[in-house]
Each structure stands twice: as structure tokens, then as C-alpha cells.
């Protein structure tokens, strides 16, 4: 009897300790909670949505009033309800991409990353979870935004040459493509933030990739330019949601593949740095 009581008392804390364990799903849930517990998430997502819808509607209204007056930019005159509704994509991609950078680089600038990686010392699950959680949120936000923009934008331009509705060939594909593009831009933002570990650096590279490099490439000799240009992240991404495609651009499927390739490259770089560098 005495030995029994002795053994019952001996293992002090170990016996009654609950069995905690880190799992992929739990890391995912943790990153989800982290995302929504910051005010900047709500603000930036709201801003992204506002850009998408408001700029789409403004573009549609400008087109409508321009048609009436007769003098209009030729490019603008050849717009469709889809291209007008997606006018805000350019701005929304910045908001979502920047938030992506903040999701990862923000942890480095604040020191939060030390807490995060002490809890998940295997590290990679953190990166995958961040990319998945925020990519999905941006995808849903983006898709919702472009559908709303088209819903109202197409009503504004109904009765003009640009008029289209959901039943038109390629419209739904374009809108889904735009949502997917925004989701992937968010993932690229998160990857750049984790790769560069700096909010300013991440945002700079993101803006350069999406907006400046296409301009620089146009300085190249035209024979090179036509070979390189379609494969740039911004142009490949644009092919995902453009309604019409010509010889100088990729098909939506090819555009998606190339853009996925860029996303994977950014994520691979981020994963490498995460595993190799001290925090």
C-alpha cells in the first residue's frame, strides 16, 4: 500500500499535465485569429473593397457620360462593361498586396515574430498558414468586390456599346480571374514581406513588380520586349482577367500558370529565408 501512495505522489506536475500539441490546423486557426485581431486588417480590406467598387462605378459613369458628349479617348471608347468594372483592380491590388506585406513583415518590425516562432519552432507552418489564410481572405474579398462592381457597373453602361451582362461569353471567367488574381497578389505580398522582413522593403518591391517593371520593359528593343513582356507578373496576371486576348498576351490559362509560378517563386524565397536565417 505504501508503495502505491508513494508512486502516486512522485510524478509531481508531469502526470496531470494536459497533452498539448502543435498541429497544422491549429497554426492555421492561430493565424486566422491573428489576422482579425488587428485593426489594420479591417481598414485595409475595407479600403481594397472600396477601391474595387467605387473606382469601377466611377469608370462606368465616366464612360457613360463620355459616350454622350462624343469626344473620348480611343482606348477608353473601346471599353467593355468588364474592363470598366475592373478599373479598380489596379488600386485594390495595392491595398491587398500591402496588407499581405504587413501580415508577415509586420511581425518582424514589431518583434511579434519571436513569439510566433517560439510557439511554432518548425517555422514553415507559419508561412503556409499566413499565405493560405490571407490569400483566401483576399480572394473572397476581391471576388466579392469585382462581382458587385460589375453588377452595378453593367447597369450604368447598359444601352451603350460597352453593355454586357453575366451571360456574355467570358464575363464570369474574367471576374473570377480578377478575384483569383487579387488573392494571389496578396500571397505574393505576404511572401515578399517574409522574404525581406521589412514593411518598407516589401511594399517597394511589390509596387516595383506590379507597376514599375512593365514600364521599364517597354524601354527594351521591341523584339525582346514582345518575348519578355507577357511573362511579367503584372501582364501574366492581367491575362487572367482580360476579356480579350491578342498575340502579345497569354491566354487566361497560361496567364494563371505563369502568375502561379511567380507566386510559388516568391513563396519559395520566403521559405528559404525563414528556415535559414536567425530571427
Amino acid at each position: 500500500m505504501s508503495t502505491l501512495t508513494a508512486t502516486a505522489q512522485a510524478p509531481s506536475t508531469t502526470a496531470v499535465r494536459p497533452a498539448y500539441r502543435v498541429t497544422g490546423r491549429r497554426v492555421l486557426a492561430s493565424e486566422w485569429a491573428k489576422l482579425w485581431s488587428l485593426r489594420s486588417t479591417w481598414i485595409t480590406l475595407g479600403l481594397g473593397l472600396l477601391f474595387l467598387i467605387a473606382f469601377g462605378l466611377i469608370a462606368a459613369s465616366r464612360y457613360k457620360s463620355g459616350i454622350g458628349s462624343g469626344h473620348m479617348d480611343r482606348d477608353f471608347a473601346s471599353s467593355t462593361a468588364v474592363s470598366l468594372s475592373l478599373f479598380g483592380t489596379n488600386f485594390a491590388q495595392l491595398a491587398l498586396g500591402v496588407l499581405g506585406v504587413l501580415v508577415t513583415a509586420g511581425e518582424y518590425s514589431t518583434g511579434m515574430i519571436r513569439s510566433t516562432l517560439a510557439a511554432v519552432p518548425r517555422r514553415l507552418p507559419v508561412l503556409w498558414s499566413k499565405a493560405a489564410v490571407f490569400g483566401l481572405v483576399a480572394l473572397i474579398t476581391g471576388t466579392f468586390g469585382v462581382f458587385v462592381a460589375f453588377l452595378f457597373g453593367s447597369r450604368i453602361v447598359s444601352g451603350t456599346p460597352a453593355a454586357m451582362d453575366f451571360s456574355h461569353a467570358g464575363v464570369v471567367r474574367s471576374l473570377l480571374g480578377a478575384g483569383l488574381y487579387l488573392g494571389l497578389v496578396a500571397v505574393i505580398g505576404a511572401a515578399l514581406g517574409a522574404l525581406l522582413r521589412s514593411v518598407a522593403g516589401g511594399i517597394s518591391v511589390l509596387v516595383a513588380t506590379l507597376m514599375l517593371i512593365p514600364g521599364l520593359v517597354s524601354l527594351l528593343p521591341s523584339s525582346w520586349r514582345d518575348d519578355i513582356s507577357p511573362y511579367l507578373p503584372s501582364n501574366a496576371g492581367e491575362s487572367m482577367f482580360a476579356l480579350t486576348h491578342d498575340a502579345t498576351s497569354l491566354s487566361p490559362g497560361a496567364g494563371l500558370l505563369v502568375f502561379l509560378g511567380w507566386t510559388a517563386l516568391a513563396l519559395a524565397g520566403a521559405a528559404y529565408r525563414l528556415m535559414r536565417s536567425d530571427v
Binding site: 509531481s12 506536475t13 508531469t14 499535465r17 494536459p18 497533452a19 498539448y20 500539441r21 502543435v22 498541429t23 491549429r26 497554426v27 486557426a29 492561430s30 493565424e31 485569429a33 491573428k34 485581431s37 488587428l38 485593426r39 489594420s40 509586420g106 511581425e107 514589431t110 518583434g111 511579434m112 519571436r114 513569439s115 510566433t116 516562432l117 517560439a118 510557439a119 511554432v120 519552432p121 518548425r122 536567425d278 530571427v279
Partner: protein
């Protein structure tokens, strides 16, 4: 249990941690002492895998930290006060960390109460004072009910009440059988709670000892005696393990190896008059300074500034 074997960390030319070997055992508080820049924080970061050692290894309860299924249950660490996102509330911060391990909400509430953060838990952590931030860091360290608690300079920025709270916390954690490893550059602070001491300087191990032994090695307890007849008293006190020093012609002697009580009794026995009899303890601070004198990273540069100066008030 933390075990370091030949643990080394180099940053380019600079060696921050240089072949450290030590074991931190459960059930006691182990103090990790050294001047600023001695490599204490780097060592602690390597324990939880934030920094990768250049050479050697460090394990926690027999495994590398990252190989544990529930790392927060093995080691709870307070590294730097600012390991939080200032925009998140204390509650949400702890809750997010808890979620990675499946730690229930109840435990989050428990550590918030334990750290005395109940009234500010829903406020943004960015608005916290240094002391509150430190309490939040300690709450996070205790979240997983860890076997080993490792705290880097925990009393930094705490008010006297907070300092006392930390002392009691550390002692009670050790009494529960946990491994408690706490760093400081202040000997006086560590001596109050620690039984065991690991002293480092410039990344090297200077001593792996107990508080008692450190004092003894640094000269032990000295008794100062003033007497009418120093020459006779010397003869009376002489014996194995007893050391008596004093200047010729002076009435004062310094005796080690005997207690004041023993000296007084012997003097009375031989009818020698004493004017003064007092125990002078070598302070831990002095012992520590002796040990680390050569290893201080940044000596005061002004002429005439003693090393004591730069050690006593580290920046």
C-alpha cells in the same frame, strides 16, 4: 533541464557565445550572470531555436526545442519585452499563441490573472508601460504550463512590487519542480533567488557554481579585529585553515577561517582586550566583479574610471 554542449555562436568576425558547456537542473533557480554583451541573450535565443548555433548544440529535456510536439509546454521563454504586436490586445496575443498548441481559453484567463493583467487584457498592448509589457511577456512564458521557464532580464522596468512578484514567482516555480533559468547583469538581484549560478563573460563560461561557493572562493567571510596586543592574538588564533593578516604596528587584523564568535571566545580565554570585532562579508557584487573584470565588454573610457564604474551601472 537545459543542456548546452560546446555551444557557439559567431556573427561574422565576432564570437558572441564561445564553447559554452552547462546544465540547468530542475527544481532550482539557476541564475545566468554576465556583464552586458556577454552572450546571455544569444544563448537564450539559441535554446528556443530563434538563433541557430554556429557550433555545438543545446537541448531542452533531451531534445532540440523544435523537435518537441508542444514546445510551449517544454520551455516558456521571456526573451525581449517587445515580442508582441502593439496593435493587438494582451488577450488576443495570448489567445493566438495558445491556439497553436490547443491550449484552452481557461488557461489564457489563468495566466492573465496570474500576471495581474486582468484590468488591461482587452487594451492594445502597444499602450502598455514597460512593466506591463514585461508582465505580458511572463504571462506568455507561463501559458503552456512549461517544465522549464527561461526569463531574460525579467526585472527590467518593473517597479518594486513587480520585482518582488517576480522573485516569489521564480521561487514557487522552482519549488514545483520546474527548471528555472533567469538571466541578469545584476548579481544582487540574482543572489536573492538563485541557488545555482552560471557566470559568463565575452561568451565564455567563467563559473558554474553556487552562490555560497562563489563567495567562499572570492575570499569568504573575513572578520575584522582591533586589539591591544595584535602579536599575541595572532599566535592565539593561529591554526590550520586560519589566515591572519595585518600591517606591522597596526592594531587591526583581518582573520579568515574563524567566526567572530570563535575569535572573541579565544581572546577572552587568553585575556586579550578587543576594541572591535566585526564580520565583513565579501559582497556578491565584489565577487562577481572579480570574476568578470577581464571579460567586461565596454570599459569606461574616461581616464581614472575604474572598471568597477562600468560594471556597477551597466547601460
Amino acid at each position: 533541464m537545459i543542456e548546452a554542449r560546446q555551444l557557439t555562436k559567431r556573427y561574422g568576425e565576432k564570437t558572441a557565445v564561445d564553447g559554452l558547456d552547462f546544465v540547468v537542473k530542475p527544481g532550482t533557480v539557476t541564475g545566468f550572470l554576465g556583464p552586458n554583451g556577454a552572450g546571455k541573450s544569444t544563448t537564450m535565443r539559441m535554446v528556443v531555436g530563434l538563433d541557430t548555433p554556429t557550433g555545438g548544440s543545446v537541448t531542452v529535456n533531451g531534445r532540440h526545442y523544435a523537435q518537441h510536439r508542444a514546445p510551449l509546454q517544454e520551455v516558456g521563454a521571456l526573451l525581449e519585452a517587445k515580442s508582441i504586436h502593439p496593435g493587438r490586445s494582451a488577450y488576443n496575443h495570448l489567445r493566438a499563441l495558445a491556439m497553436t498548441h490547443g491550449i484552452p481559453r481557461r488557461r489564457v484567463d489563468e495566466v492573465i490573472e496570474l500576471a495581474g493583467l486582468g484590468s488591461v487584457a482587452k487594451k492594445r498592448a502597444g499602450a502598455f508601460s514597460l512593466g506591463m509589457g514585461q508582465r505580458l511577456g511572463i504571462a506568455a512564458a507561463l501559458l503552456g504550463d512549461p517544465q522549464t521557464v527561461m526569463l531574460d532580464e525579467p526585472v527590467n522596468g518593473l517597479d518594486p512590487e513587480g520585482v518582488l512578484w517576480i522573485r516569489n514567482l521564480l521561487t514557487s516555480l522552482a519549488e514545483e519542480g520546474r527548471t528555472v533559468f533567469v538571466s541578469s547583469h545584476l548579481m544582487s538581484e540574482v543572489a536573492l533567488v538563485a541557488d545555482h549560478l552560471i557566470v559568463v563573460g565575452r561568451g565564455r563560461l567563467l563559473a558554474d557554481t553556487t552562490v555560497r561557493d562563489l563567495v567562499r572562493e572570492a575570499g569568504g567571510d573575513t572578520v575584522q579585529v582591533a586589539t591591544q596586543d595584535p602579536a599575541r592574538l595572532r599566535d592565539v588564533l593561529a591554526g590550520p585553515g586560519v589566515d591572519v593578516t595585518g600591517r606591522i604596528g597596526s592594531e587591526e587584523l583581518r582573520v579568515t577561517g574563524l567566526t567572530a564568535r570563535e575569535i572573541g571566545l579565544k581572546a577572552a580565554e587568553h585575556g586579550i582586550a578587543l576594541f572591535e570585532l566585526s564580520t565583513r562579508q565579501v559582497s556578491l557584487e565584489e565577487a562577481f566583479m572579480d570574476l568578470t573584470r577581464d571579460a567586461v565588454e565596454y570599459h569606461g573610457s574616461a581616464p581614472g574610471t575604474e572598471t568597477v564604474e562600468s560594471l556597477g551601472r551597466p547601460a
